[in-house]
């Protein structure tokens, strides 16, 4: 093999690195290191001229190993590897030294930053002679896409993808798609009827020949990798044959169990044990609630549903079904949960009548809701005064630090709806700041002020029913500091709406673990990069859209769903995808067949060859964790890109001075 000729490029990154690291000093030092043929600095290595430097040196100066000291490899390693490849150098003979995120940005002292940069760089200089030329592994891509979650985000993404002719599996855990948006009455700030704009999309998703709708189903297992995911979906038993059920709802009327709190109506309305969550449900099919149905609970029932069902669709013997799907990409659109305001006892939710959540109010104000759209208190009377409390569970260090982004606007929408229905009712909005950042939002806020809504700047301290004056008797009293007036106020109200924040779904963590990407500190799904890759996850081929990533309003959700669909399409529209070759291999000449690695591989990518009596890596299944390498007593499995001698060389380089 030819001698190692390493070129070192030290990027200033404007002043991001050069402002802390003495670049000239490091470069002069680097030039003196063994195997280093060239050491250069440049203002922006990622720019075209910067990349050209690398290409020229490879082509004209016989450079056969490259280290670029710059930002995190997560950022620009692909950029530089591509440049190297363009000049004819195997891209895996290029390493990056992260002297920005791990050095210049985190170090106070310039001298110390310079020394650390040298050590980080030296680790890579030592490593490079051990690097092997590798070729990315090209694998075929399954063109189908799985969309998890059938709210507006999932529906939108599925429709977009289906329109390109791709096969889409849309998995929804509830009996119908529609998500939270289906529960809303109006949408801010345009006051479009939510159902009017959503149901056409729901129905389109239900009818699209390219979309296989799997409602009342949950993903239980995900295996595989970009382009080739294997997904196990549990189709929960509905106890109704969905092929024959026509959705006529005749059974609903006959069911003897009639007082089940309706999930869709937030428990304010009732449903029967056999139910269709709401009239526009897609698929429009009945479902039997196994926990409520007398027959399924083993109790006696005359089963009027069976007799009332013309097509004979009721099937008490139905079982959960496990379906295996193969897809090339996955879009997560699993949404949010309303923050449970019962956690903050001061507001009396669950304890005081007529203290309700925003979602409950959505149902109350909805014409198809439990009160047929009449805004009334529990006693059926319309409220004379309503207080809307912002930031419940949001912007609160005790609970959720984040701003939920939609509460200010939906609260204003509530005010408008109340004023529209009940013009004489006093409405109070108790807010910290009004955050009206979207198109038409600030205008909507002004309009509401003109409608006579009382804006009280102050976070509500407490809701109590302890009346201290005759006019407070029998009512709720909201205590707050009015920070504009500088006084403590007691605001009597007949209805208190808690504008609860958006919280990550309770199973968000578990779901992220099933799919193999992380959650951020706030519990929402973690995007690959907050600005540049907001719809990607750290797992190639898995995208996110909607409120599972972070609270957002409908316009943003729809936009992100489109972006996620585009991301997925950009992947599955190719016949193949290249995956990192940093996977394990086993030399059969050395393997003693002890079986240790076989049982440890998390991806079942090692099998035992009974004939040769050795372990073998299944190349397509290996994801490159290196657990087998570390576990093997004789270091027989080795991992390309993370060979032991490469890691040892890095240690030596880092510790050389």
């Amino acid at each position: 093999m030819a001698e190692d000729r390493i070129a070192v490029y030290f990027c200033h990154c404007g002043s991001n690195i050069a402002g802390k690291v003495d670049v000239d000093k490091v470069v002069a030092w680097a030039a003196e290191q063994p195997n280093v043929a060239i050491a250069r600095e440049y203002k922006y290595m990622c720019s075209d001229p910067g990349q050209d430097l690398i290409k020229e040196d490879i082509q004209q100066h016989g450079i056969n190993r490259v280290v670029v000291a710059a930002c995190s490899p997560t950022m620009h390693e692909p950029t530089f590897r591509k440049a190297a490849a363009a000049a004819g150098l195997n891209p895996y003979l290029l390493q990056m030294a992260n002297v920005r995120e791990h050095c210049s940005w985190v170090t106070v002292d310039k001298g110390e930053a310079t020394e650390k940069a040298k050590r980080i760089l030296n680790a890579q200089i030592h490593r490079l002679p051990f690097n092997e030329a590798l070729d990315p592994i090209e694998v075929p891509v399954n063109p189908a896409v799985l969309v998890v979650g059938g709210g507006i985000a999932g529906i939108e993404a599925a429709l977009k993808l289906a329109a390109t002719g791709k096969k889409v599996y849309l998995v929804e855990k509830n009996p119908s798609i529609g998500g939270h948006m289906a529960m809303f009455d109006k949408t801010f700030p345009t006051l479009d009827c939510a159902a009017c704009i959503l149901t056409p999309k729901m129905s389109a998703a239900g009818k699209d020949p390219n979309i296989e709708l799997m409602a009342y189903s949950e993903v239980v297992e995900v295996d595989g990798y970009v382009g080739n995911f294997k997904v196990k979906v549990k189709k929960k038993a509905r106890f109704v044959n969905t092929d024959t059920c026509t959705g006529c709802a005749a059974c609903l009327e006959t069911c003897v169990v009639r007082k089940v709190p309706s999930e869709f109506d937030q428990g304010l309305g009732k449903r029967s044990a056999i139910y269709i969550p709401f009239p526009q449900a897609v698929p429009l099919r009945a479902t039997i609630d196994a926990e409520k149905c007398l027959t399924l609970k083993g109790k006696k029932c005359k089963q009027p549903c069976v007799t009332s069902c013309g097509p004979g669709a009721i099937d008490f013997e139905q079982k959960d079904e496990l379906v295996e799907l193969e897809v090339g990409a996955i879009i997560m659109a699993t949404g949010f949960e309303l923050w449970d305001p019962g956690q903050d006892a001061r507001y009396g939710y669950g304890r005081l009548d007529n203290v309700i959540t925003s979602l409950e109010f959505e149902r109350i104000s909805n014409a198809s809701g439990p009160t047929n759209g009449e805004i009334v208190c529990k006693n059926g009377e319309p409220p004379k005064s309503v207080a809307i409390l912002h930031c419940i569970g949001s912007r609160d260090l005790n609970y959720q630090e984040h701003c939920s982004r939609v509460c200010c606007m939906y609260s204003l929408k509530f005010s408008h709806l109340i004023k529209e229905h009940l013009p004489d009712t006093e409405v109070y909005e108790l807010y910290i700041d009004m955050r009206c950042f979207g198109k038409g939002y600030e205008e909507f806020y002004r309009r509401l002020m003109d409608e006579g809504v009382h804006m009280v700047r102050g976070r509500a301290a407490e809701v109590t029913d302890l009346a201290m004056s005759p006019e407070e008797e029998g009512r709720l009293i909201v205590k707050t500091e009015d920070t504009l007036l500088g006084i403590v106020r007691r605001i009597p109200a007949d209805m208190v709406i808690l504008s609860s924040g958006l919280a990550p779904a309770k199973d968000a963590k578990a779901v992220s673990q099933t799919f193999g990407f992380g959650c951020s500190g706030d519990g929402f799904f973690l995007e690959r990069h907050p600005k540049l890759e907001p719809v990607s996850t750290i797992t190639d081929g898995i995208f996110i859209a909607g409120c599972c990533q972070y609270p957002k309003d409908i316009p943003d959700t729809v936009a992100q769903a489109g972006a996620a669909a585009a991301g997925a399409l950009a992947l599955v529209d190719n016949p193949t995808v290249k995956v990192e070759p940093t996977i394990s291999y086993i030399d059969p000449e050395k393997c003693a067949g002890c079986h240790i690695c076989v049982g440890l591989c998390p991806h079942v990518a090692i099998r035992y060859n009974e004939e040769l009596k050795v372990a073998e890596v299944i190349t397509a299944a290996c994801k490159g964790c290196g657990v087998c390498v570390a576990a093997c007593g004789s270091n027989v499995p080795q991992q390309h890109g993370y060979l032991d001698n490469q890691i040892f060389a890095e240690i030596e380089g880092a510790m050389a001075f």
């Binding site: 490899p73 985190v106 992380g518 964790c625 890691i647 240690i651």
Partner: protein, 160 residues
């Protein structure tokens, strides 16, 4: 002899970071411009499960005063349970090193997610201070040449 920061002992540390969580957490610390001591050089692997005791011993042998291993939180591993292997190897390695006379805090295992830039900065700061308090390890310095010529009467030089 242990020296503290004021008389100039700067610990030299190695940090093995898994690519998906901890390395990204370190990146986030950078992007957030959090500040922490410059003593640790990070070495990236795909998974903390790739690191075995050999790498830790190698780092100590090469002059590291302390070694940090950082991986994904249990359950968050990009490779399902690679970090479970790390969790098993670590205490046994620690026990071995203590038998060889190393203080308990010389090696450290932490779970740092990609979202925990602040935790990464805090861990490195704490760890640096911890090793600073323990003083230099200087493993190779303890091997003196005990040659034949050494007069028997002379006491053996034993560096601390």
């Amino acid at each position: 002899m242990s020296t503290n920061g004021s008389n100039g002992f700067e610990p030299r540390l190695i940090g093995f970071l898994c690519r998906w969580c901890s390395y990204n957490g370190a990146d986030l610390a950078g992007t957030s411009r959090l500040k922490y001591p410059p003593n640790m050089v990070p070495i990236k692997t795909n998974c903390s499960g790739r690191i075995d005791a050999t790498h830790i011993l190698k780092a100590l042998k090469e002059g590291a005063d302390g070694v940090l291993i950082a991986g994904c939180h249990p359950g968050d591993c990009h490779y399902i349970n690679g970090n479970y292997r790390t969790a098993g190897r670590f205490p046994l390695t620690q026990k071995l090193l203590e038998q060889l006379g190393l203080e308990h805090g010389r090696v450290r295992l932490e779970w740092v997610s990609a979202a925990e830039g602040d935790k990464f900065a805090r861990v490195v700061t704490e760890f640096t201070e911890q090793i600073r308090a323990l003083g230099p390890l200087g493993w190779s310095a303890q091997f003196v040449d005990e040659s034949v010529a050494a007069p028997a009467a002379e006491k053996e030089a034993v560096p601390a």
